[in-house]
Protein backbone atom coordinates (compact mmCIF):
# COMPACT_ATOMS: atom_id res chain seq x y z
CA UNK A 1 0.00 0.00 0.00
CA UNK A 2 2.41 2.66 -1.17
CA UNK A 3 1.88 6.35 -0.58
CA UNK A 4 1.79 8.75 -3.50
CA UNK A 5 2.92 12.35 -3.77
CA UNK A 6 1.00 14.86 -5.90
CA UNK A 7 2.48 18.22 -6.82
CA UNK A 8 -0.25 20.87 -6.52
CA UNK A 9 0.75 23.29 -9.27
CA UNK A 10 -0.05 26.96 -8.68
CA UNK A 11 0.04 30.12 -10.73
CA UNK A 12 -0.35 33.65 -9.35
CA UNK A 13 -1.09 32.35 -5.85
CA UNK A 14 -3.92 29.98 -6.84
CA UNK A 15 -3.93 26.21 -7.28
CA UNK A 16 -4.47 25.41 -10.94
CA UNK A 17 -7.12 22.97 -12.12
CA UNK A 18 -4.28 20.76 -13.34
CA UNK A 19 -2.95 20.74 -9.77
CA UNK A 20 -6.27 19.39 -8.45
CA UNK A 21 -6.21 16.85 -11.28
CA UNK A 22 -2.80 15.58 -10.13
CA UNK A 23 -4.23 15.02 -6.64
CA UNK A 24 -7.34 13.35 -8.09
CA UNK A 25 -5.21 11.03 -10.24
CA UNK A 26 -3.05 10.07 -7.27
CA UNK A 27 -6.19 9.44 -5.15
CA UNK A 28 -7.73 7.15 -7.76
CA UNK A 29 -4.48 5.25 -8.14
CA UNK A 30 -4.08 4.84 -4.36
CA UNK A 31 -7.69 3.68 -3.93
CA UNK A 32 -7.38 1.14 -6.73
CA UNK A 33 -4.23 -0.36 -5.23
CA UNK A 34 -5.22 -0.91 -1.62
CA UNK A 35 -5.62 2.61 -0.28
CA UNK A 36 -2.26 4.24 0.35
CA UNK A 37 -2.15 7.87 1.40
CA UNK A 38 -1.97 10.82 -0.97
CA UNK A 39 0.35 13.60 0.11
CA UNK A 40 0.00 16.86 -1.78
CA UNK A 41 2.91 19.26 -1.98
CA UNK A 42 1.95 22.93 -2.04
CA UNK A 43 4.72 25.44 -2.70
CA UNK A 44 4.22 29.19 -2.78
CA UNK A 45 4.67 32.60 -1.24
CA UNK A 46 3.64 33.07 2.43
CA UNK A 47 -0.14 32.68 2.62
CA UNK A 48 -0.42 29.75 0.21
CA UNK A 49 -1.14 27.45 3.19
CA UNK A 50 -4.70 28.83 3.21
CA UNK A 51 -5.36 26.73 0.10
CA UNK A 52 -4.42 23.42 1.78
CA UNK A 53 -7.98 22.41 2.65
CA UNK A 54 -9.08 22.59 -0.97
CA UNK A 55 -6.61 19.79 -1.72
CA UNK A 56 -8.29 17.67 0.96
CA UNK A 57 -11.55 18.05 -0.93
CA UNK A 58 -9.92 16.26 -3.86
CA UNK A 59 -8.53 13.40 -1.83
CA UNK A 60 -5.26 14.48 -0.23
CA UNK A 61 -4.68 13.01 3.25
CA UNK A 62 -1.70 15.22 3.97
CA UNK A 63 -0.75 18.59 2.55
CA UNK A 64 2.91 19.48 2.86
CA UNK A 65 3.28 23.24 2.63
CA UNK A 66 6.45 25.16 1.87
CA UNK A 67 6.21 28.94 1.96
CA UNK A 68 8.92 31.38 0.94
CA UNK A 69 8.81 34.77 -0.82
CA UNK A 70 11.05 33.34 -3.58
CA UNK A 71 8.25 30.90 -4.46
CA UNK A 72 5.85 33.65 -5.48
CA UNK A 73 6.53 32.76 -9.12
CA UNK A 74 7.52 29.33 -10.39
CA UNK A 75 11.12 28.88 -9.32
CA UNK A 76 12.47 25.83 -11.17
CA UNK A 77 15.77 25.17 -9.44
CA UNK A 78 14.61 25.63 -5.86
CA UNK A 79 11.33 23.80 -6.45
CA UNK A 80 13.08 20.82 -8.07
CA UNK A 81 15.49 20.53 -5.12
CA UNK A 82 12.60 20.71 -2.64
CA UNK A 83 10.34 18.24 -4.44
CA UNK A 84 13.15 15.71 -4.95
CA UNK A 85 14.03 15.96 -1.27
CA UNK A 86 10.39 15.34 -0.23
CA UNK A 87 10.08 12.35 -2.54
CA UNK A 88 13.29 10.86 -1.21
CA UNK A 89 12.49 11.37 2.47
CA UNK A 90 8.82 10.36 2.07
CA UNK A 91 9.68 7.15 0.21
CA UNK A 92 6.84 7.67 -2.26
CA UNK A 93 6.26 5.02 -4.91
CA UNK A 94 4.91 7.54 -7.43
CA UNK A 95 5.03 11.31 -7.77
CA UNK A 96 2.30 12.85 -9.91
CA UNK A 97 2.79 16.20 -11.69
CA UNK A 98 0.81 18.10 -14.35
CA UNK A 99 1.89 17.98 -17.98
CA UNK A 100 1.70 21.76 -18.29
CA UNK A 101 4.58 24.04 -19.29
CA UNK A 102 5.52 24.27 -15.62
CA UNK A 103 5.13 20.55 -14.90
CA UNK A 104 7.08 19.57 -18.00
CA UNK A 105 9.89 21.83 -16.79
CA UNK A 106 9.83 20.62 -13.18
CA UNK A 107 9.22 16.87 -13.42
CA UNK A 108 12.31 16.04 -15.56
CA UNK A 109 14.58 17.99 -13.20
CA UNK A 110 13.18 16.04 -10.26
CA UNK A 111 13.55 12.76 -12.16
CA UNK A 112 17.19 13.55 -12.94
CA UNK A 113 17.99 14.37 -9.31
CA UNK A 114 16.44 11.07 -8.20
CA UNK A 115 17.64 9.01 -11.21
CA UNK A 116 13.98 8.06 -11.69
CA UNK A 117 12.08 7.08 -14.80
CA UNK A 118 9.69 9.77 -16.07
CA UNK A 119 6.71 9.81 -18.41
CA UNK A 120 4.91 13.06 -19.23
CA UNK A 121 1.60 13.59 -21.08
CA UNK A 122 0.04 10.56 -19.39
CA UNK A 123 -3.70 10.02 -19.94
CA UNK A 124 -4.21 7.06 -17.55
CA UNK A 125 -2.18 5.32 -14.89
CA UNK A 126 -2.45 2.34 -12.56
CA UNK A 127 -0.29 0.45 -10.07
CA UNK A 128 0.16 -3.22 -10.99
CA UNK A 129 2.31 -5.24 -8.59
CA UNK A 130 5.84 -3.97 -9.22
CA UNK A 131 5.05 -1.74 -12.15
CA UNK A 132 3.37 1.58 -12.68
CA UNK A 133 1.47 1.21 -15.93
CA UNK A 134 0.78 4.36 -17.92
CA UNK A 135 -1.07 5.17 -21.12
CA UNK A 136 0.64 7.85 -23.18
CA UNK A 137 -0.07 9.13 -26.70
CA UNK A 138 2.99 8.89 -28.97
CA UNK A 139 3.74 9.89 -32.55
CA UNK A 140 1.55 13.01 -32.26
CA UNK A 141 -1.42 11.02 -31.02
CA UNK A 142 -1.46 8.65 -33.99
CA UNK A 143 -0.74 5.79 -31.61
CA UNK A 144 -1.33 5.17 -27.92
CA UNK A 145 1.45 3.43 -26.00
CA UNK A 146 1.11 1.47 -22.79
CA UNK A 147 4.37 1.56 -20.85
CA UNK A 148 5.31 -0.26 -17.65
CA UNK A 149 7.67 1.61 -15.35
CA UNK A 150 9.74 -0.48 -12.96
CA UNK A 151 11.79 0.83 -10.05
CA UNK A 152 10.83 3.45 -7.50
CA UNK A 153 9.96 6.25 -7.57
CA UNK A 154 8.16 6.72 -10.88
CA UNK A 155 7.67 10.32 -12.03
CA UNK A 156 4.38 10.90 -13.90
CA UNK A 157 2.94 14.07 -15.44
CA UNK A 158 -0.78 13.94 -16.33
CA UNK A 159 -2.20 15.63 -19.46
CA UNK A 160 -4.45 18.53 -18.36
CA UNK A 161 -8.07 17.49 -18.67
CA UNK A 162 -7.30 13.76 -18.81
CA UNK A 163 -8.47 13.34 -15.22
CA UNK A 164 -12.08 14.10 -14.30
CA UNK A 165 -12.15 16.04 -11.06
CA UNK A 166 -14.12 14.06 -8.49
CA UNK A 167 -14.78 15.22 -4.96
CA UNK A 168 -13.29 12.84 -2.40
CA UNK A 169 -13.21 14.79 0.82
CA UNK A 170 -10.64 14.02 3.51
CA UNK A 171 -9.73 15.83 6.67
CA UNK A 172 -6.24 16.97 5.78
CA UNK A 173 -3.26 17.05 8.07
CA UNK A 174 -1.10 20.03 7.20
CA UNK A 175 2.64 19.65 7.58
CA UNK A 176 5.32 22.24 6.97
CA UNK A 177 8.54 21.67 5.08
CA UNK A 178 11.51 23.99 4.86
CA UNK A 179 12.99 24.87 1.46
CA UNK A 180 16.18 23.06 0.49
CA UNK A 181 19.00 25.58 0.30
CA UNK A 182 18.19 29.24 -0.34
CA UNK A 183 15.31 29.55 -2.84
CA UNK A 184 16.37 33.12 -3.60
CA UNK A 185 19.83 32.04 -4.80
CA UNK A 186 18.84 30.91 -8.28
CA UNK A 187 20.69 31.26 -11.55
CA UNK A 188 17.70 31.58 -13.88
CA UNK A 189 15.73 34.67 -12.87
CA UNK A 190 12.18 35.35 -14.03
CA UNK A 191 11.97 39.04 -14.82
CA UNK A 192 8.40 39.20 -16.07
CA UNK A 193 5.25 37.12 -16.41
CA UNK A 194 2.88 38.24 -19.18
CA UNK A 195 -0.61 36.92 -18.67
CA UNK A 196 -3.70 37.21 -20.82
CA UNK A 197 -6.35 39.86 -20.25
CA UNK A 198 -8.25 37.96 -17.54
CA UNK A 199 -11.55 37.72 -19.46
CA UNK A 200 -10.57 34.22 -20.56
CA UNK A 201 -8.78 31.41 -18.77
CA UNK A 202 -5.55 29.72 -19.76
CA UNK A 203 -5.28 26.51 -21.74
CA UNK A 204 -4.03 24.51 -18.79
CA UNK A 205 -7.03 25.25 -16.61
CA UNK A 206 -10.04 25.80 -18.80
CA UNK A 207 -12.82 23.19 -19.06
CA UNK A 208 -13.81 24.83 -22.36
CA UNK A 209 -11.49 25.87 -25.20
CA UNK A 210 -12.63 28.03 -28.11
CA UNK A 211 -10.07 27.87 -30.92
CA UNK A 212 -9.86 29.93 -34.07
CA UNK A 213 -8.31 29.20 -37.45
CA UNK A 214 -7.56 30.99 -40.66
CA UNK A 215 -11.29 31.07 -41.41
CA UNK A 216 -11.42 34.17 -39.19
CA UNK A 217 -9.48 36.05 -41.90
CA UNK A 218 -7.65 38.54 -39.62
CA UNK A 219 -6.25 39.17 -36.16
CA UNK A 220 -9.02 41.70 -35.44
CA UNK A 221 -11.71 39.11 -36.11
CA UNK A 222 -10.28 36.96 -33.33
CA UNK A 223 -12.44 39.18 -31.15
CA UNK A 224 -15.31 36.84 -32.12
CA UNK A 225 -13.45 33.90 -30.58
CA UNK A 226 -12.57 35.88 -27.45
CA UNK A 227 -16.17 36.98 -27.00
CA UNK A 228 -17.47 33.45 -27.33
CA UNK A 229 -14.87 32.28 -24.78
CA UNK A 230 -15.87 35.09 -22.42
CA UNK A 231 -19.56 34.12 -22.81
CA UNK A 232 -18.80 30.59 -21.59
CA UNK A 233 -17.09 32.15 -18.56
CA UNK A 234 -14.81 29.14 -18.09
CA UNK A 235 -13.07 29.07 -21.47
CA UNK A 236 -9.60 29.62 -22.86
CA UNK A 237 -8.67 30.76 -26.36
CA UNK A 238 -6.65 28.50 -28.67
CA UNK A 239 -5.45 28.78 -32.25
CA UNK A 240 -4.06 26.84 -35.21
CA UNK A 241 -0.52 27.10 -36.49
CA UNK A 242 -1.75 29.06 -39.50
CA UNK A 243 -2.89 31.70 -37.03
CA UNK A 244 0.18 31.75 -34.77
CA UNK A 245 2.50 31.76 -37.80
CA UNK A 246 0.74 34.87 -39.07
CA UNK A 247 1.20 36.47 -35.66
CA UNK A 248 -2.53 36.88 -34.98
CA UNK A 249 -2.02 35.06 -31.68
CA UNK A 250 1.05 34.16 -29.58
CA UNK A 251 2.62 30.73 -30.04
CA UNK A 252 1.57 29.73 -26.56
CA UNK A 253 -2.03 29.58 -27.86
CA UNK A 254 -1.24 27.01 -30.55
CA UNK A 255 -2.94 23.64 -30.23
CA UNK A 256 -1.56 20.62 -32.06
CA UNK A 257 1.41 18.47 -32.93
CA UNK A 258 3.95 21.19 -32.25
CA UNK A 259 1.76 23.19 -29.87
CA UNK A 260 -0.18 22.39 -26.70
CA UNK A 261 -1.89 19.06 -26.11
CA UNK A 262 -5.29 19.61 -24.53
CA UNK A 263 -8.26 17.55 -23.45
CA UNK A 264 -11.05 19.92 -22.36
CA UNK A 265 -14.68 19.01 -21.69
CA UNK A 266 -15.67 21.09 -24.71
CA UNK A 267 -13.57 22.16 -27.71
CA UNK A 268 -15.11 24.63 -30.15
CA UNK A 269 -13.26 24.84 -33.49
CA UNK A 270 -14.06 28.06 -35.34
CA UNK A 271 -12.93 28.35 -38.98
CA UNK A 272 -10.46 25.46 -38.55
CA UNK A 273 -9.96 22.91 -41.33
CA UNK A 274 -8.96 20.07 -39.00
CA UNK A 275 -5.50 19.21 -40.36
CA UNK A 276 -4.05 16.05 -38.84
CA UNK A 277 -1.42 18.14 -37.02
CA UNK A 278 -4.16 20.17 -35.36
CA UNK A 279 -6.21 17.11 -34.43
CA UNK A 280 -3.09 15.69 -32.72
CA UNK A 281 -3.50 18.32 -30.00
CA UNK A 282 -7.24 18.17 -29.36
CA UNK A 283 -8.82 14.91 -30.49
CA UNK A 284 -9.00 13.59 -26.90
CA UNK A 285 -11.42 16.44 -26.00
CA UNK A 286 -14.65 15.08 -24.54
CA UNK A 287 -17.02 17.02 -26.82
CA UNK A 288 -16.00 18.74 -30.06
CA UNK A 289 -18.01 21.42 -31.87
CA UNK A 290 -16.99 22.65 -35.33
CA UNK A 291 -18.13 25.69 -37.25
CA UNK A 292 -16.87 25.79 -40.83
CA UNK A 293 -18.35 26.93 -44.12
CA UNK A 294 -16.96 23.93 -45.98
CA UNK A 295 -19.10 20.82 -45.44
CA UNK A 296 -16.13 18.66 -46.54
CA UNK A 297 -13.68 20.10 -43.96
CA UNK A 298 -11.97 17.22 -42.09
CA UNK A 299 -12.82 18.80 -38.72
CA UNK A 300 -16.41 17.58 -39.22
CA UNK A 301 -15.16 13.97 -39.10
CA UNK A 302 -14.23 14.36 -35.42
CA UNK A 303 -16.88 16.90 -34.39
CA UNK A 304 -19.72 15.62 -32.20
CA UNK A 305 -21.75 18.61 -33.36
CA UNK A 306 -21.02 20.47 -36.57
CA UNK A 307 -22.58 23.60 -38.02
CA UNK A 308 -21.95 24.34 -41.68
CA UNK A 309 -21.85 28.09 -41.96
CA UNK A 310 -20.01 31.37 -42.02
CA UNK A 311 -18.22 32.18 -38.75
CA UNK A 312 -19.36 35.80 -39.02
CA UNK A 313 -22.97 34.62 -39.00
CA UNK A 314 -22.81 31.66 -36.60
CA UNK A 315 -20.35 32.79 -33.91
CA UNK A 316 -22.10 36.01 -32.81
CA UNK A 317 -25.40 34.10 -32.63
CA UNK A 318 -23.76 31.35 -30.58
CA UNK A 319 -22.14 33.90 -28.25
CA UNK A 320 -25.51 35.51 -27.58
CA UNK A 321 -27.19 32.13 -27.05
CA UNK A 322 -24.51 30.90 -24.65
CA UNK A 323 -24.70 34.14 -22.70
CA UNK A 324 -28.50 33.81 -22.50
CA UNK A 325 -28.32 30.15 -21.46
CA UNK A 326 -25.89 30.95 -18.66
CA UNK A 327 -27.93 33.92 -17.49
CA UNK A 328 -31.05 31.70 -17.38
CA UNK A 329 -29.34 29.02 -15.29
CA UNK A 330 -27.63 31.48 -12.93
Amino acid sequence: MPNLLAFAETRAGAIRKAGFEAVTAARACADASGGGEVHALLVGAPGIAAKADSLGEHGANVVIVTEHPAFERYNPEATAALVADRIRSGGYRVAVFSSTAQGRDLAPRVAAILDAAIVTDVIAMAIEQNDIVVTHPVDTGKLIATWAIGGSPAIIAMRPGAVLLAPSARAVRVERAEPVGDPAAVRVVTTELRMGDGATMDLGDAPVIVSGGRGLKSAENFRLVEELAAAFGNAAVGATRAVTDDGWRPHSDQIGQTGRLVSPDLYVAVGISGAIQHLAGMRTSKTIVAINKDREAPIFKVADYGIVGDVFDVVPALTAAVRAARAASA
Binding site: A101, R104, P108, A111, A112, I113, I118, V119, T120, D121, P137, V138, D139, T140, L143, I144, A145, T146, W147, G150, V188, V189, T190, E192, L193, R194, M195, D202, L203, F232, A236, T244, P250, H251, S252, T258, G259, R260, L266, I276, R283, T284, K286, V289, R295, F300, V302, A303, D304, Y305, G306, I307, V308, D310, V314, L318, A321, V322, A325, R326
Partner: protein
Amino acid sequence: MKIAVCIKRVPVMDQRLPIAASGIAIDESGLKFDVNDFDLWAVEAGLQLKEKLGQGEVVIVSLGSDAVQEQIRKALSMGADRGIHLKAAAVPPDARVVARALADELKPGGFDLILFGRVAVDVSNGATGAMVAQLLGLPCVTAVSKLEIKDGRGRAQRELEGAQEMVEFPLPAVLTIDEGLNRERLPSLKGIMAAKKKPLEVKPVTLGESRITVRRLQPPPERAAGRIIGEGSAAVPELVRLLQTEAKVL
Protein backbone atom coordinates in the same frame (compact mmCIF):
# COMPACT_ATOMS: atom_id res chain seq x y z
CA MET B 1 31.09 30.44 -28.54
CA LYS B 2 30.81 26.67 -28.60
CA ILE B 3 27.29 25.35 -29.15
CA ALA B 4 26.08 21.74 -29.03
CA VAL B 5 22.73 20.73 -30.52
CA CYS B 6 21.19 17.35 -29.69
CA ILE B 7 19.06 16.01 -32.51
CA LYS B 8 16.86 12.95 -32.84
CA ARG B 9 15.91 10.93 -35.92
CA VAL B 10 12.12 10.45 -35.93
CA PRO B 11 9.59 9.12 -38.44
CA VAL B 12 7.95 11.83 -40.55
CA MET B 13 4.51 12.24 -39.00
CA ASP B 14 2.39 12.77 -42.11
CA GLN B 15 2.57 9.14 -43.19
CA ARG B 16 0.80 6.05 -41.92
CA LEU B 17 2.74 4.44 -39.05
CA PRO B 18 1.91 0.70 -39.18
CA ILE B 19 2.24 -1.31 -35.97
CA ALA B 20 4.74 -4.20 -36.27
CA ALA B 21 3.70 -7.82 -35.70
CA SER B 22 5.27 -7.63 -32.21
CA GLY B 23 2.53 -5.15 -31.24
CA ILE B 24 5.01 -3.00 -29.32
CA ALA B 25 6.78 -1.04 -32.06
CA ILE B 26 6.04 0.54 -35.40
CA ASP B 27 7.07 -1.28 -38.56
CA GLU B 28 9.82 0.99 -39.87
CA SER B 29 10.31 -0.66 -43.25
CA GLY B 30 9.70 1.83 -46.01
CA LEU B 31 9.02 4.73 -43.62
CA LYS B 32 10.45 8.20 -44.20
CA PHE B 33 12.53 9.74 -41.41
CA ASP B 34 13.72 13.26 -40.68
CA VAL B 35 15.21 15.37 -37.91
CA ASN B 36 12.65 16.07 -35.15
CA ASP B 37 11.02 19.47 -35.97
CA PHE B 38 11.98 21.11 -32.68
CA ASP B 39 15.58 19.98 -33.15
CA LEU B 40 15.72 21.66 -36.56
CA TRP B 41 14.71 24.90 -34.87
CA ALA B 42 17.45 24.26 -32.28
CA VAL B 43 20.03 23.78 -35.09
CA GLU B 44 18.81 26.99 -36.73
CA ALA B 45 19.12 28.84 -33.41
CA GLY B 46 22.71 27.62 -33.03
CA LEU B 47 23.62 28.66 -36.57
CA GLN B 48 22.07 32.11 -36.16
CA LEU B 49 23.96 32.73 -32.90
CA LYS B 50 27.24 31.71 -34.51
CA GLU B 51 26.56 33.96 -37.52
CA LYS B 52 25.65 36.89 -35.32
CA LEU B 53 28.76 36.58 -33.19
CA GLY B 54 30.91 36.02 -36.27
CA GLN B 55 32.74 33.12 -34.62
CA GLY B 56 32.15 29.83 -32.86
CA GLU B 57 31.37 26.22 -33.53
CA VAL B 58 28.10 24.31 -33.83
CA VAL B 59 28.42 20.62 -32.93
CA ILE B 60 25.62 18.14 -33.65
CA VAL B 61 25.12 15.17 -31.30
CA SER B 62 22.77 12.28 -31.99
CA LEU B 63 22.31 8.97 -30.20
CA GLY B 64 21.06 5.95 -32.15
CA SER B 65 21.82 3.36 -34.79
CA ASP B 66 23.92 4.05 -37.91
CA ALA B 67 20.80 5.46 -39.55
CA VAL B 68 21.07 8.70 -37.50
CA GLN B 69 24.11 9.72 -39.55
CA GLU B 70 21.68 10.75 -42.28
CA GLN B 71 20.13 13.29 -39.90
CA ILE B 72 23.52 14.48 -38.64
CA ARG B 73 24.53 15.08 -42.29
CA LYS B 74 21.38 17.11 -42.83
CA ALA B 75 22.30 19.39 -39.91
CA LEU B 76 25.86 19.67 -41.27
CA SER B 77 24.46 20.63 -44.68
CA MET B 78 22.47 23.39 -43.00
CA GLY B 79 25.81 24.77 -41.80
CA ALA B 80 26.82 23.02 -38.56
CA ASP B 81 30.56 22.37 -38.23
CA ARG B 82 30.89 18.76 -37.10
CA GLY B 83 28.91 15.80 -35.85
CA ILE B 84 29.14 13.21 -33.10
CA HIS B 85 27.27 9.95 -33.52
CA LEU B 86 26.77 8.13 -30.22
CA LYS B 87 26.24 4.67 -31.55
CA ALA B 88 23.82 2.27 -29.88
CA ALA B 89 21.79 -0.48 -31.50
CA ALA B 90 18.46 0.47 -29.92
CA VAL B 91 17.40 3.43 -27.82
CA PRO B 92 14.71 2.78 -25.17
CA PRO B 93 11.90 5.28 -24.38
CA ASP B 94 13.47 5.92 -20.95
CA ALA B 95 14.69 9.56 -21.03
CA ARG B 96 16.98 8.81 -18.05
CA VAL B 97 19.06 6.48 -20.20
CA VAL B 98 19.23 8.91 -23.14
CA ALA B 99 20.02 11.89 -20.90
CA ARG B 100 22.82 10.01 -19.15
CA ALA B 101 24.49 9.03 -22.44
CA LEU B 102 24.21 12.57 -23.82
CA ALA B 103 25.42 14.16 -20.56
CA ASP B 104 28.50 11.89 -20.45
CA GLU B 105 29.44 13.06 -23.95
CA LEU B 106 28.64 16.75 -23.39
CA LYS B 107 30.28 17.13 -19.98
CA PRO B 108 33.93 17.45 -21.05
CA GLY B 109 32.99 19.35 -24.25
CA GLY B 110 33.35 22.86 -22.86
CA PHE B 111 30.11 24.07 -24.47
CA ASP B 112 28.74 27.53 -23.72
CA LEU B 113 25.28 26.55 -24.85
CA ILE B 114 23.62 23.15 -25.23
CA LEU B 115 20.41 23.14 -27.25
CA PHE B 116 17.62 20.58 -27.33
CA GLY B 117 14.19 20.39 -28.88
CA ARG B 118 11.29 20.93 -26.45
CA VAL B 119 10.00 17.46 -27.25
CA ALA B 120 10.69 14.58 -29.61
CA VAL B 121 7.50 14.06 -31.59
CA ASP B 122 7.82 10.25 -31.59
CA VAL B 123 8.11 9.37 -27.87
CA SER B 124 6.51 12.71 -27.01
CA ASN B 125 8.05 12.97 -23.56
CA GLY B 126 9.85 16.33 -23.52
CA ALA B 127 12.13 15.37 -20.65
CA THR B 128 15.64 14.89 -22.02
CA GLY B 129 16.90 18.51 -22.15
CA ALA B 130 16.06 19.43 -18.56
CA MET B 131 17.41 16.08 -17.35
CA VAL B 132 20.76 16.66 -19.07
CA ALA B 133 20.93 20.15 -17.54
CA GLN B 134 20.36 18.69 -14.10
CA LEU B 135 22.97 15.96 -14.63
CA LEU B 136 25.51 18.59 -15.72
CA GLY B 137 24.51 21.02 -12.97
CA LEU B 138 23.82 23.74 -15.54
CA PRO B 139 21.11 26.42 -15.58
CA CYS B 140 18.22 25.43 -17.83
CA VAL B 141 15.38 27.21 -19.62
CA THR B 142 12.70 25.09 -21.30
CA ALA B 143 10.29 25.96 -24.14
CA VAL B 144 12.25 28.96 -25.42
CA SER B 145 10.49 31.02 -28.10
CA LYS B 146 12.74 34.12 -28.08
CA LEU B 147 16.44 34.24 -27.39
CA GLU B 148 19.20 36.82 -27.07
CA ILE B 149 22.80 36.20 -25.97
CA LYS B 150 24.98 39.14 -24.98
CA ASP B 151 28.15 39.45 -22.93
CA GLY B 152 27.99 35.91 -21.60
CA ARG B 153 24.38 36.20 -20.44
CA GLY B 154 21.14 35.11 -22.03
CA ARG B 155 17.62 36.47 -22.11
CA ALA B 156 14.79 34.23 -23.20
CA GLN B 157 11.04 34.09 -23.47
CA ARG B 158 9.30 30.88 -22.39
CA GLU B 159 5.90 29.78 -23.60
CA LEU B 160 3.40 28.87 -20.89
CA GLU B 161 -0.29 28.20 -21.45
CA GLY B 162 -1.74 31.55 -22.46
CA ALA B 163 1.19 33.40 -20.89
CA GLN B 164 4.84 34.18 -21.48
CA GLU B 165 7.63 34.29 -18.98
CA MET B 166 10.80 36.37 -19.51
CA VAL B 167 13.94 34.97 -17.92
CA GLU B 168 17.64 35.85 -17.62
CA PHE B 169 20.39 33.30 -17.21
CA PRO B 170 24.20 32.98 -17.17
CA LEU B 171 26.25 30.83 -19.58
CA PRO B 172 26.99 27.98 -19.89
CA ALA B 173 23.35 26.90 -20.03
CA VAL B 174 20.98 24.31 -21.47
CA LEU B 175 17.94 25.44 -23.47
CA THR B 176 15.04 23.51 -24.99
CA ILE B 177 13.66 25.18 -28.11
CA ASP B 178 9.94 25.67 -28.76
CA GLU B 179 8.13 26.48 -31.97
CA GLY B 180 8.07 30.17 -32.82
CA LEU B 181 11.76 30.94 -32.30
CA ASN B 182 12.56 30.59 -36.01
CA ARG B 183 11.93 28.53 -39.12
CA GLU B 184 14.83 26.32 -40.16
CA ARG B 185 16.73 27.05 -43.37
CA LEU B 186 16.81 24.48 -46.15
CA PRO B 187 20.20 22.95 -46.90
CA SER B 188 21.68 24.59 -50.01
CA LEU B 189 23.34 22.54 -52.75
CA LYS B 190 26.67 24.02 -51.68
CA GLY B 191 25.88 23.10 -48.07
CA ILE B 192 25.12 19.52 -49.06
CA MET B 193 28.43 19.20 -50.91
CA ALA B 194 30.37 20.78 -48.03
CA ALA B 195 28.67 18.50 -45.46
CA LYS B 196 30.17 15.43 -47.10
CA LYS B 197 33.63 16.57 -46.03
CA LYS B 198 32.76 17.71 -42.52
CA PRO B 199 33.97 15.54 -39.60
CA LEU B 200 31.51 13.02 -38.21
CA GLU B 201 32.94 11.11 -35.28
CA VAL B 202 31.37 7.75 -34.37
CA LYS B 203 31.54 6.74 -30.69
CA PRO B 204 30.03 3.44 -29.54
CA VAL B 205 28.20 3.84 -26.20
CA THR B 206 26.81 1.34 -23.73
CA LEU B 207 23.42 2.48 -22.52
CA GLY B 208 22.11 2.06 -18.99
CA GLU B 209 19.26 -0.31 -18.31
CA SER B 210 15.80 0.96 -19.25
CA ARG B 211 13.19 1.07 -16.48
CA ILE B 212 10.44 1.51 -19.06
CA THR B 213 9.15 -1.41 -21.09
CA VAL B 214 6.63 -1.07 -23.88
CA ARG B 215 3.61 -3.27 -23.22
CA ARG B 216 1.38 -2.28 -26.13
CA LEU B 217 1.05 0.09 -29.04
CA GLN B 218 -2.44 0.68 -30.37
CA PRO B 219 -4.31 3.07 -32.60
CA PRO B 220 -6.33 5.62 -30.59
CA PRO B 221 -9.94 4.73 -29.89
CA GLU B 222 -12.13 5.82 -32.78
CA ARG B 223 -14.30 8.83 -32.10
CA ALA B 224 -17.94 8.37 -32.97
CA ALA B 225 -18.51 9.62 -36.50
CA GLY B 226 -19.05 13.35 -36.68
CA ARG B 227 -22.56 14.73 -36.97
CA ILE B 228 -23.62 17.90 -38.76
CA ILE B 229 -26.62 19.36 -36.94
CA GLY B 230 -27.50 22.18 -39.27
CA GLU B 231 -26.56 25.20 -41.32
CA GLY B 232 -25.88 28.80 -40.37
CA SER B 233 -27.06 30.65 -37.28
CA ALA B 234 -30.42 28.85 -37.53
CA ALA B 235 -28.67 25.78 -36.10
CA VAL B 236 -27.47 27.61 -32.98
CA PRO B 237 -30.51 26.90 -30.72
CA GLU B 238 -30.22 23.17 -31.47
CA LEU B 239 -26.48 23.27 -30.68
CA VAL B 240 -27.10 25.00 -27.35
CA ARG B 241 -29.80 22.45 -26.51
CA LEU B 242 -27.40 19.56 -27.24
CA LEU B 243 -24.62 21.17 -25.21
CA GLN B 244 -27.03 21.46 -22.28
CA THR B 245 -28.87 18.15 -22.40
CA GLU B 246 -26.57 15.70 -24.17
CA ALA B 247 -23.00 16.88 -23.63
CA LYS B 248 -23.92 18.62 -20.34
CA VAL B 249 -21.19 21.22 -20.71
CA LEU B 250 -23.39 24.31 -20.52
